[in-house]
Amino acid sequence: MNTFTYTRVDDVASAVRSIAGDGAARFIAGGTNLLDLMKENVERPSRLIDITHLPLRAIESTSDGGLRIGALVTNTDVAYHPEIERRYPLLSRAILAGASAQLRNMASVGGNLMQRTRCAYFYDNATPCNKRTPGAGCSAIGGFTRYHAILGASEHCIAVHPSDMCVALAALDAVVHVTGPGGERAIAFEDFHREPGNTPHIDTNKRSDEIITAVELPARGFSELYAYVKVRDRASYAFALVSVAASLRMNAGTIEEGRVALGGVAHKPWRNRTAESALAGQPASRQTFERVADDLVRGARDCGLNAFKIPLAKRAIVRSLEQAVATNRGGRR
């Protein structure tokens, strides 16, 4: 672990001022990922800026019927908030499928968005990694790729984003609010995380001098028909091999709108609006779901040990849509 200095800030403006121009500084909230990375010498910040005292812990309704979640609300508090449970149960489900109770108690919403990949090579300084050291090469390619990407990967990086919460946020069309030296701006959730391309060391489109202040959910919460299916190597405390956040709106047996976001398959929570739009106007049948699942995973490429993820992703998509249809028929899990 590096030596570092510690600063505490009490409002957003000071946080932004504090990090300005200091590329080696990091914000710290729950620390559930950053401290691990520091102990592994993967992150070596010269300065930690403690943002836990910022006034970003509220969950409030917005004027257009949505909900605004402060960046410092813990994962646990989001998952069990009555309004989230009632209006956005998909988000609650996804959060509770992730990590452990202890981690969720510490982890913040903003930190969840900013967490780094769990690629074993990224975590191990003994193995070259383009995400850790641009240009060093990717050790995962040709190695232990069980958990790696099948969509949107590049020759420079095949890592996946590890979050469960973000998969639900992607499906819900959330918006990320950030504040920087130039003021506030909103980033559509789909545009927040990046594909690796040839800059895998840059995970998000949030600039390093910006701070996440809130995540906003639009009014439509799909609380009627939804499912979060997480396929993993053990029942808890394991990252997704494949996860699916599915939500449907139906009218008399016909799908009016369907959304599918995938986790564990790409460098970012994966949406394919063209493919999922084919759900609209179709009957909620297994045939429909299988056809859409094929389209959603079309173009997927494995890198060895993760070949199983391609059929698995299709099956998990079908399962999630079937579960979503059955949400209120006791078929929910």
Binding site: M1, N2, T3, E40, N41, R44, R118, A120, Y121, Y123, D124, N125, A126, T127, S139, G142, G143, F144, R146, V231, R232, D233, R234, A235, S236, Y237, A238, F239, L241, F308, P311, L312, R315, A316, V318, R319
Partner: protein
């Protein structure tokens, strides 16, 4: 022996200390002027250290020394000096000895500083250049070069003509199995606090399964007399075999203390817990031949396991196949292949976990081929004697295990057809297997001291690695002298105490327990002597002592196996039944229930005994479905080297576990009639689950763990 204490479900005598955090482990001892070490590990699997630049680290105020092979001195060149009680054949690893790298994760430097944080930071500044050489970490690639080592437990002699009988058998099964490396991963990291007393003597607090083994090792390596080096290890936060050998952390801590002339602590990180012994990856081939009625005609069990480049670690993998079922034509082999990894180590039921897994899965395949119920096949070929040694069993209530576990499980309702049971998306399967483990006794010594106030202190240099040893020894001692548990104290984990073997092999209950009983019986005999013959009357112990003017009675007793051991085969047995649910689309497997019936002789404490078996079953679930230290053969390194990536069952994976102890009387195994229970519980669980997965899905997965991708 009456059963006032022994056989009762006494709660752990050290339970309160542990749950309240008062129990101190090796790295918890704080002493004045303690320096802290941080180990730097090799990033390559084979090659040499070209250079080490510690300049930036040493420039930091508070950094005391960076120990490397370039500046260690006074260490013995003779590798025999590094031998320990649990070392296999070969040349033991010598930390910081020279520039050679023999495995990834090899300790190559120790940075010592005034604080732990500083040592860790300084370690990150040390620059190491390697000259890489090609490495091999893939067992399958080296299998062709396997050789016959000098075995610790050689495979049984062949009998009959297995090859010919196999060819002639009307029903045959041949199956290959591949099992991965597993690491023990006790929750307590390896750590040692070495206290420098200033007069040349040391006290070493270490995590170990044998204080005397660690003491002897350190004395040999560093030239200490055993009186000048005391090893203490009162609590061990799990070990499972990993602490049978002294590891590099304690070597490095003593080295630094000796050189710096001050107290030093060295702890491993979780990542470094993957840098030493492990359960070896093993390839196996089992061939079974039977007549159409299910009578076994031929059995061949061959294994090739990994070892290091410097030691021949071998375990009894194939031996169990020779004694579980009657078969007159059998042959066995166990070979080793050298890889660029550290030497494997004993890990909970070493050898049996892998070997019985392969045999019991092959038996299930044979039952399917024969269209005979798997349990019936086992009963039909039940071994009444040990054909390996041509000896009778001292006791073997395996039939009762089968019967009681099958009944509790509801086995008779099983439809043998695969994929015949389902619940929604879940395919349900039932499988069973047999378990077997040794019931060994080894020499041990205990001291008992009864003081005039009625307090009994019993001691032996054994270890309690979380098994409940301290509790059962307390019960045995209290029983022998008819004292309440609260009057008895059992002391262990100190090299100044009477000799005990390393705690392993499930032999501690029977071995140290016998010594404890013998020492206490001698105290009792003394008391009767003091009172002398006369009319029968009741009198308290303290009164006898007071009348004799004695403040204490002290007795030492050493016990060893009886002569009868030569005429009998001594084993513990079990029958395991498991239910699985397999998601037909997603492949994920859950284990809703396991029933295990164990024939382990007399149960000294049903509460700690049940915990042992339950914990073992959880291990078995992990072995079957989750555990694997994944090697990347390109970098020659374990890539799942933390507890997030190295999977083993969490609470959500563990459901109903039902443990049955069948009645088994054994007057031969040891004076207590008790067989150890630390390991038997894990044997057979992997096979029972794998067989249940076949029953659920119709798929045979012969390489563990059975992860969901193998079932898609």
């Amino acid at each position: 022996m009456s059963t006032h204490h022994v056989g009762q479900p006494i709660s752990r005598v050290d339970g309160r200390l542990k749950v309240s955090g008062e129990a101190k482990y090796a790295a918890d001892y704080n002493v004045p002027n303690l320096a802290h070490g941080c180990v730097i590990s090799s990033e390559i699997a084979r090659g040499t250290i070209a250079s080490i630049d510690a300049g930036a680290a040493l420039a930091l105020p508070g950094v005391l020394r960076v120990f490397t092979h370039e500046n260690t001195r006074g260490l013995p060149w003779f590798d025999g000096s590094y031998h320990d009680e649990s070392a296999p054949e070969g040349s033991p690893f010598r930390p910081l000895y020279d520039e050679e790298i023999e495995f990834s994760g090899q300790p190559i430097a120790l940075v010592v500083a005034e604080t732990f944080e500083l040592a860790r930071y300084a370690a990150s500044l040390v620059r190491i250049q390697y000259a890489r050489a090609t490495h091999q970490t893939n067992l399958q690639a080296e299998r062709h070069a396997a050789y016959e080592p000098k075995h610790r437990t050689p495979p049984p002699d062949p009998r009959g003509d297995a090859a010919r009988a196999f060819e002639a058998a009307p029903v045959r099964i041949e199956a290959d199995f591949l099992v991965p490396v597993e690491h023990h991963n006790p929750i307590e990291l390896f750590g040692a606090t070495v206290v420098w007393h200033g007069d040349g003597t040391l006290t070493v607090y270490d995590k170990t399964q044998g204080v005397l083994n660690t003491q002897q090792y350190l004395a040999n390596v560093f030239g200490f007399g055993t009186r000048d080096l005391r090893v203490i290890s009162p609590f061990v936060g799990g070990a499972f075999g990993s602490a049978l050998r002294p590891h590099y952390h304690v070597f490095l801590a003593v080295l630094a203390a000796r050189e710096l002339k001050r107290s030093v602590r060295v702890s491993m990180t979780r990542q470094q817990m993957f840098s030493f012994g492990h359960r070896p990856t093993t390839w196996q081939r089992v061939k079974l031949g039977a007549s159409r009625d299910g009578t076994m005609q031929a059995l061949t069990h061959d294994a090739v396991a990994e070892t290091s480049q410097f030691e021949d670690f071998s375990e009894a993998v194939v031996n169990w196949s020779g004694l579980l079922y009657r078969c007159d034509n059998a042959s066995f082999s166990h070979k080793l292949a050298r890889l660029d990894l550290f030497t494997p180590m004993d890990m909970r039921a070493p050898g049996a976990t892998w070997g019985v897994y392969a045999l019991e899965c092959a038996m299930d395949e044979l039952a399917v081929e024969l269209r005979i119920d798997p349990l019936e096949l086992r009963l039909k070929n039940y071994a009444e004697t040990d054909q390996n040694e041509e000896l009778p069993f001292s006791s073997k209530e395996l039939r009762a295990c089968y019967r009681q576990a099958a009944e509790r499980f509801g086995w008779s309702r099983r439809n043998p057809e695969p994929r015949s049971m389902r619940d929604g998306h879940a395919l349900i399967g039932w499988g069973m297997a047999t378990g077997v483990w040794e019931a060994m006794q080894v020499p041990a010594t205990a001291r008992a001291v009864l003081t005039a106030d009625g307090t009994l202190t019993v001691s032996s240099a054994t270890a309690d690695i979380g098994t409940g040893t301290g509790t059962i020894m307390t019960q045995i001692a209290a029983e022998a002298l008819g004292l309440p548990i609260s009057n008895v104290k059992f002391v262990l984990g100190d090299s100044t105490l009477p000799t005990a073997p390393i705690e392993g092999g499930s032999w501690t209950a029977g071995s140290v327990g016998s010594a404890v009983k013998a020492a206490c019986d001698k105290v009792r005999a003394r008391l009767f002597e003091l009172e002398g013959p006369g009319e029968k009357h009741a009198m308290s112990l303290t009164e006898i002592m007071r009348r004799s003017g004695l403040s204490s009675i002290e007795e030492l007793a050493t016990t060893e196996p009886s002569k009868a051991h030569e005429k009998y085969s001594l084993y513990t047995h079990s029958a395991v039944f498991a239910e699985v649910r397999v998601d037909e689309d997603l492949g994920s497997v859950t284990v809703p229930r396991v029933v295990s019936a164990v024939a382990g002789g007399r149960v000294l404490n049903p509460k700690t005994a049940r915990s042992q078996i339950m914990g073992s079953i959880v291990w078995g679930i992990g072995m079957a479905l989750q555990e694997e230290s994944v090697l990347d053969h390109v970098v020659g390194r374990f890539m799942t080297h933390n507890l997030a990536d190295y999977h083993f069952p969490v609470h959500a994976d563990v459901h109903d576990i039902d443990v049955i102890f069948v009645d088994e009387r054994d007057d031969i195994v040891n004076p207590l009639g008790a067989k150890g229970l630390g390991e038997i519980g894990v044997v057979g669980v992997g096979a029972a689950i794998a067989n249940a997965v076949y029953h659920a899905t119709g798929k045979r997965v012969r390489d563990l763990p059975i992860t969901l991708d193998k079932l898609l």
